[in-house]
């Protein structure tokens, strides 16, 4: 679960500055809209005007564009009385907003773009090249596995109580292309300070490892589902595919806490 970058204080400062710059540009565009009766609908003109205003308001910084070569604030017409605004910050993030002509911001957020670079195999060591081939093969194999779509529900199977087990299986929901295993487990709450200062990739409780088998030896692959939330208790579900064969009579679900049998 590692690897999700959490904005450090410097990035948070950059985000705050980008947000305020976007809002200053929005104010100037609202002023122009109220005087002319509408937002500029020509995308090129609106884009240029937003960039010009951003330069005007970004005091002290070099004129023209942000570090990434983009305008400090980008704008685009959406409808007759809506425009979108975006202010890039950091390496590849931006603050985004939709502005209505009556001055109301219709919600927005922060987005981070991710780019992929092709790897030149000729520059890799034999070990690195082998690792890459294995990763690609693994990915392709995973893509070829059966997937749970979950479009046609068949029935649910309730699990017997498992008092004392850390992870407790609640039920299996059977679909025509797989199943969802519902589980629950307790967790201790974290303090607000540790949540705010910590790595957000650690906020999500890791899903418990589930192994699903039946009495026919069917191979089940993880597919979808997702951990649930909660402050002191987690309710989640993990998906598996393919569908349980009609001839199967028992499903076994094994966790670190033990094995639960569901009779079909």
């Amino acid at each position: 679960m590692n690897g999700v970058p959490w904005p450090d204080l410097e990035e948070q400062r950059q985000q705050a500055e980008a947000n305020l710059l976007l809002l200053r540009v929005a104010l100037a565009l609202i002023d122009e809209a109220r005087r002319t009766g509408a937002f500029e609908t020509d995308e090129e003109k609106l884009t240029a005007r937003a960039a010009e205003l951003a330069d005007e308001f970004a005091s002290g910084a070099p004129k023209g564009s942000s570090a990434g070569g983009e305008a400090r604030v980008q704008a685009a017409p959406l409808t007759a009385d809506h425009i979108s605004l975006s202010a890039p910050f950091g390496e590849s993030s931006s603050v985004d907003q939709t502005l209505r002509a009556d001055g109301v911001l219709l919600g927005g957020g922060v987005s981070t773009s991710v780019s992929f670079e092709s790897i030149d195999e000729t520059g890799l060591s034999p070990e690195e090249a082998e690792k890459m081939r294995q990763a690609v093969a693994e990915f392709e194999a995973k893509q070829a596995r059966p997937q749970l779509g979950g479009g046609h529900f068949l029935r649910a199977l309730a699990a017997e109580p498992q008092p004392g087990s850390e992870v407790q299986i609640l039920a299996a929901e059977l679909f025509d292309d797989g199943m969802l295993i519902h589980y629950t487990h307790d967790q201790e709450p974290e303090s607000l300070e540790s949540i705010v200062s910590g790595d957000p990739s650690q906020w999500l409780e890791p899903e418990p490892m589930l192994l699903v088998e039946d009495d026919l030896g069917t191979k089940y692959y993880e597919s979808g589902g997702g951990g649930g939330g909660g402050v002191q208790v987690v309710h989640g579900a993990s998906g598996f595919a393919p569908a349980v064969p009609s001839e199967a009579r028992i499903i076994r679900i094994t966790t670190d806490s033990g094995t639960v049998e569901l009779r079909l």
Binding site: I30, G103, A156, A158, Q168
Partner: protein, 284 residues
């Protein structure tokens, strides 16, 4: 907690953002007028024309005369007052203490420099009767809030612990139902409540598209009204909602209820608006 809170959140940035958003609405409400009103009555009329935002959004305005000490009510208010040259002065009261951020808005949409105001901005000896009264109001509100938080803590703790595993009694699957509408899948019975797991057919995309920017049709579809009946007249209240997969063709969600189903109840009827299903609970 206040000291820790100040370290965790940049309140001045939150206030400044709030001031910008308030400025957007005031400027849009100005229409074709070349200047902001220079008197309180005119500003009150302007504030009355400000567009409403998201339901429940805290964007409340109050008007104060210029050249008087700042007012405080202990709420997250944007105080608006006239300023020279057809401008407005906006001040956001943090609501957490006697502090505010202020900025001047020109009728051409330009903002002046942000200003942080501690208290009333004057020495103690210069405080007016109104300032003393405001200070008492804010201090009383802070005390009331702290008392409320202290009193609410046990309820919050109880709510967070209600469905921990030590309270789980058993799970009962629901019988087959018509898949055209919401389908109850199973119920988890706890000593402290009951969780109903269900599936809802995903509405057609055309029903998910709406011109209302505040509408949340997918969430609405995932949270159908559910009425529980145990034949004993118990009144069940929803205490939690959980969405498991908003992207699936069958939306999966759960609703948690309290109180617990009585051990003497032998069946539980789950009533959706369009259908209901009776679950045999069997022996406790």
């Amino acid at each position: 907690m206040e000291a820790a809170g100040e370290e965790l959140f940049d309140w001045s940035h939150i206030s400044r953002t709030h001031l910008c958003e308030a400025s957007l609405r005031l400027l849009a409400a100005l229409g074709a007028e070349p200047r902001f009103p220079g008197e309180v009555a005119g500003i009150e009329a302007l504030v009355g024309r400000v567009a409403e935002g998201r339901p429940g959004e805290p964007m409340d305005f109050a008007v104060e005369p210029a050249s008087e000490l700042p007012r405080y009510r202990g709420e997250h208010l944007v105080w608006v007052s006239p300023a020279a040259d057809g401008r407005l002065r906006l001040r956001h009261e943090t609501g957490e203490s006697l502090a505010s951020e202020a900025v001047t808005l020109r009728p051409d949409g330009r903002l002046g420099e942000f200003e942080t105001i501690a208290g009333f901005g004057v020495p103690e000896a210069e405080l007016t009767d109104q300032a003393h009264a405001d200070r008492e109001t804010v201090e009383r509100r802070i005390r009331e809030r702290e008392d409320h938080e202290a009193n609410a803590r046990p309820d919050i703790d109880e709510g967070q612990r209600r469905f921990r595993t030590e309270h789980l009694l058993r799970v009962v699957a629901a019988p087959p139902q018509d898949p055209a509408g919401p389908v109850a899948s199973f119920v988890a019975l706890y000593e402290t409540g009951v969780i109903v797991y269900y599936l809802v057919p995903r509405p057609p995309e055309v029903e998910l598209e709406t011109d209302d920017p505040w509408a949340e049709p997918l969430e609405a579809a995932m949270t159908p009204e559910i009425e529980l009946s145990d034949g004993q007249g118990t009144t069940y209240e929803v205490v939690d909602l959980d969405y498991l997969d908003p992207n699936a063709p069958l939306l999966r969600a759960s609703q948690s209820f309290a109180p617990a189903v009585s051990p003497t109840s032998t069946r539980l009827t789950i009533g959706f608006k369009t259908a209901s299903v009776e679950i045999e609970l069997g022996p406790a």
